[in-house]
Amino acid sequence: MTERTSPLSALDRPNSYIGRAVPRPNLGRLLEGRGQYVSDISLPRMAHVVFVRSPYAHARIVSIDAADARKGKGVVAVVTGAELANVCTPWVGVLTHLKGLKSPPQHAIAVDRACWVGEAVAAVVAASRAEAEDAAARVLVEYEELPVTADMDDALAAGAAPIHPDFGDNIAFERRLDVGEVDAAFAQADAVAEAEFVFARHTGVTLEARSIVADWNPGEQRLTVYQGTQAPHMMQNIIARHLGLAEAQVRVLCKDVGGSFGIKVHVYADDMATVALSKLLKRPVKHVADRVESFLTDIHARDHRCKGRVAVRKDGTILAFEIDDRTGIGPYSVYPRTSAIEANQVVNLVGGPYAVKNYRARARVAFQNKNVTCQYRAVGHPIACSVTEGLVDRAAAAIGMDPVEIRRRNLLPDDCYPAESAAGMKFEALSHHAALEKILAMMDYEALRAEQARLREQGVYRGVGIASFIEVTNPSAAFYGVGGARISSQDGAAVRLDASGAIVCQTSITEQGQGSEAIIAQVVATAVGAPLERVRVILGDTDNVPYGGGTWASRGAGIGGEAAWRAGRALRDNILSVAAAILQTEAAALDIAGGEIVDAEGHARIGLDEIARIAYFRPDTLPPDFQAELIATRHYAPRKFPFAFTNGVQAASIEVDVRTGFVKLLRHWVVEDCGRVINPQLVDEQIRGGVVQGLGAALFEHCRYDERGQMLNANMADYLVPMAGEMPDIEVAHVETPTQESELGAKGAGEAGTAGAAAAVANAVNDALAPFGAVISEIPLTPELVLRAIGAIS
């Protein structure tokens, strides 16, 4: 199902691994239970930390009495925020390019005030987790309750008491954008559709919770941190900075990670406290969040309310979009990526797939007494996509046009690139129409419509929903670097020929299941000309890999892969120089294929093992002025575009049981264009996993809070994640428009699935409910919401 639009290149060599579904080298150990996740790590003298957490959403810490807890069996120490502040300095989660963003200093452990339920107020370190929990229950904390502002609209209301009095209000960040002639466009419209879209708070629920083991060795004056993180170098920098160490004193190691999705790319107070405690106590300290702690302290996401309007002409031309988005981010902007990015992305992305000139947007980001929110898979995209696609469907309904037809008439034409959206997003090349036509064929749109009509007569309500989207991938320094964060937008790879003729690649990207190891191995094997089995990839260790950003924001393959490609090509050139010296010929007349140096006719002349043997053990036989260099290092950062935008479209077929309100997901389709597909299976599975996260948001997931700021469902029985029984099969296909910016041409694919899934389902549900005149603008789409919308209950 793949269309290649690029000419033949080095990537299309006969024995290229690019574009093939090769097995992932790390699966063998994971399948046998021999992975090494941080939660599996145990070190000599290791102690466990448990945090005493605030039961109040907002309270002054009057006193902490740890005397009784200190007597507990196995207890090593009980440490308060004030004590830990001597070891670890506080941080402020702002970026300079997000103008006006403010946030107060946050400590590893609250010093005098707790601002959400679950914020740590003391740490108990003991010989075992169980003993630490026993003692934690014996720490007596006296609180004075303070007024709670839980709801974002209460926080934003005029005259609302500021959570952080110094700021004067609860607005952490506000952005406005006004492009074109929005008022005039609405005045000229034949129809205007509007809605307020509500997105529940949800969270990542990685199956392995956040885990960290910190080991300060005073003898070496070095801190070794084992952490399930997406960005080891970022953590190295931040830990060093706040503990007053040099970066060289901090090593961050990250082997197997039990899921991340953005959850594990942030700086958590618990993690900083754990490293600080190791330094304070001079021994290894481990913290593995339990599931309740995960719900209370892992970053949450979404929690947006977005008013939207669209202006449309009778012929289907969309004239303008206007949105007003509010979100609540908890009491702090999360360090170092900030909690304003999601709202900022909503402003950037609404209307993005469409050729619409007039756009007005406003986003307000509020402080509140709930857990913090920050970047989780597809940051801002699901909101922007649901708002845009929800409005487009409503516009179509308003003028009586088929939802597909209105998209055909307004999606940016496939031949218009380079192009720019109303919000100023720059598109190198997208394929909205090709993707739309492809998905319509896959799903047999006409047949689905016919079936829908037939079943409706029998009282069966099916719906079809479509959602086109754009996705930010391969971010350049424009994302974080320009705002002053030491978050690298470049990645590095070092590729070498070892003494046996095998290839080793050290890369700065990380693996949390996406298949980074496999992708890098494929790229390097192809670039060098070595068999895949002879390539080993090393990652996740700041002592042993080049400096780089890691794996997040759909950047691993596009940026890390490109660095590996270039390093592999450079090594190939170096190897050929050695071969030329040995064979007394020109390097240009040689190539490497299948691990052999071959001549122009493809005849094998000498193996990589023999090259290595001579270069490493018999350099005396090489020409006197020749030095073999069998390692090559390259770095890569995208520079031409701030982001490599990708595009795609999703479609959902659902059935609503109008008697019970239950929505059944029948089938789901995705066509997406992530540029060059390095490994089609990995891309497809990224998409499928991402879609199901979006489907969870569409139907199930919701961090429910009461007005006192108590989370009501902080456990896995009550927070509903998508399980196998309710999820549909998902068909995936591709259009390939490689980016010309890199040699590989790969863009990202990690978030596309999540970006559009909820929008497609919401549109499908509203399509199914059309005979009832019901329209729902809220997710999750619970049975109760459906029954209320159709008037079955009130």
Binding site: A130, E133, A137, G725, P783
Partner: protein, 287 residues
């Protein structure tokens, strides 16, 4: 999330178990399959000083025919109940219901007695026991007593079991060849506790359904018999008016409370839908 400390014993006889429980005092707890108790321990929602593991008590095992009825040992695991041909033949309501209880791995450990003793208001088996007019056989140091299902469930996680008592077995009375069953439940995901569900039984008598017993779960603090709805169905024919009348009575039978999963209106509505599905099933079976 680790359980608090407790003492543990695994007695080899019922007498010893009863003695250990008595010695353990008010807060001593029995553990059977552990599928409800252990989560509560791990979450530190329960902190018993002593846990008495009844897993070794053979007399509490097994499913037997007793006359035309059934005796189901308290330690019969959900998976065993699900596979039992005897249960499928004599009491298909339980076979149907058990498929809705949790997931395979939990059914492999969870026990019949444990589920009844746990008395979760949203659980399937207590409602089945009520619909089937089951008798709980309860042992204590002072002997054995029999408690009707109707008197057994007392509130959220509350039963007639006193401290020191053990549920030994459950008797399902002879149901008669013409007894028919209907079961329906609505839960968000497979294996989740129900939002609302119903277990129903009625006797096929000519073209009518007689003596219906309709037990709801998820509608209150315990499984509840819908008596008015049952009365509306008793002896009536299979028509829309009866169905409608029965459904309307639910507002009198049930008084669900709003909680964070569903409003009162939602629960009442779903109870009505469940009732209609159960009535359909009763008639289907009666055909």
């Amino acid at each position: 999330m680790k359980a608090p400390e407790f003492d543990y014993a695994r007695p080899a006889s019922l007498d010893e178990a009863l003695r250990l429980l008595a010695d353990g005092g008010e807060d001593a707890r029995v553990i059977a399959g552990g599928q409800s108790l252990v989560p509560a321990l791990n979450l530190r929602l329960a902190a018993p000083p002593v846990v008495v593991d009844i897993g070794g008590l053979d007399p509490l095992r097994g499913i037997e025919a007793v006359g035309d009825g059934l005796r189901i040992g308290a330690l019969v695991r959900h998976a065993e109940l699900a596979r039992s041909a005897l249960v499928a033949a004599r009491c298909p309501l339980l076979t149907q219901a058990i498929a809705h209880v949790a997931h395979p791995a939990i059914r492999n450990r969870g026990t019949f007695g444990g589920s009844l003793a746990q008395a979760d208001p949203a659980a399937e088996l207590p409602a089945c026991a009520l619909a089937l007019d089951a008798i709980m056989i309860v042992a204590s140091r002072s002997g054995e007593r029999r408690v009707a299902a109707q008197d057994f469930f007392r509130g959220v996680y509350e039963t007639a079991l006193a401290a020191g008592e053990i549920l030994v077995a459950v008797e399902i009375p002879a149901l008669g060849a013409d007894r028919r069953f209907g079961f329906a439940e609505f839960s968000r995901r497979r294996g989740d506790f129900a939002i609302v569900g119903v277990a129903a039984a009625a006797t096929k008598s000519g073209g009518r359904l007689a003596s219906p017993r309709i037990a709801f779960f998820g509608t209150g603090d315990r499984p509840q018999l819908a008596r008015a709805a049952a009365a509306a169905l008793d002896g009536a024919a299979n028509d829309t008016n009866t169905r409608k009348a029965a459904r309307e009575k639910l507002a009198a039978d049930l008084d669900p409370v709003e909680d964070s999963t569903a409003s009162r209106a939602m629960r009442l509505h779903l109870a009505g839908e469940a009732l209609e599905q159960a009535i359909d099933a009763l008639w289907r079976e009666a055909a």
